[in-house]
């Protein structure tokens, strides 16, 4: 495997289980990108999340495939092509992603005022 996650999915507590599936830096954003069920190539995902390095998207997509949140379809073409698509299990997390998105929008100003350093 490309990169072995050190901390496995947490089976000790339901809350930690859910968190452990999405807490890596970009996983929640990846689910948000894939929400429409449209299959996307990793390069498209990268265009939407330009701050993430392609390598880390690769690593996190692989983990999400392993966890069953996303599928990967590899087309035996040259140059190679593969597409990622959200699964039903992944979709079932979208209400949580939506709630976090909305919370972030609703409370953005508080944190902007608190933490945005003017330079």
């Amino acid at each position: 495997m490309a990169y072995e996650k050190k901390i496995p999915v947490d089976l000790d507590c339901p809350l930690r289980l859910t968190m452990s599936l999405i807490e890596s830096k970009w996983k929640s954003c990846i689910l948000d990108e894939l929400r429409s069920s449209k299959a996307m190539r990793s390069s498209e995902i990268h265009k939407s999340l330009p701050e993430a390095t392609p390598r880390v998207l690769d690593i996190q997509l692989k983990e999400m495939v392993e966890d069953g949140l996303v599928t990967q379809t590899i087309f035996p073409e040259l140059p190679p092509r593969s597409e990622y698509q959200i699964t039903e299990l992944g979709k079932s997390l979208l209400p949580i992603i939506d709630a976090m998105l909305k919370w972030g929008e609703d409370h953005f100003e508080i944190f902007k005022q608190k933490y945005d350093r003017k330079e």
Copy 2:
């Protein structure tokens, strides 16, 4: 400050903002513990989350105070006593915590079968 978080609250995207407030290992659990609005001493929180070291609870509680999710009240007594309590802002995250808790309960079996290693 006790320990300086290296990655500050993320102001670039509402979803990342919300995630950045709760993605540390125990913050979601701490919010869950404090949900009833009862003030708790750090030793009580530790008793409820025995897998977390007292030090990391200390660090994460301090960050949550800084972020406005929790308040700390210090009683000028000896031996010292202080209590943590969830704020209104912290409470506004509880529906998200609840949704994650429920998702984890609903999908626990999938991951238990997938990842639970029998020894």
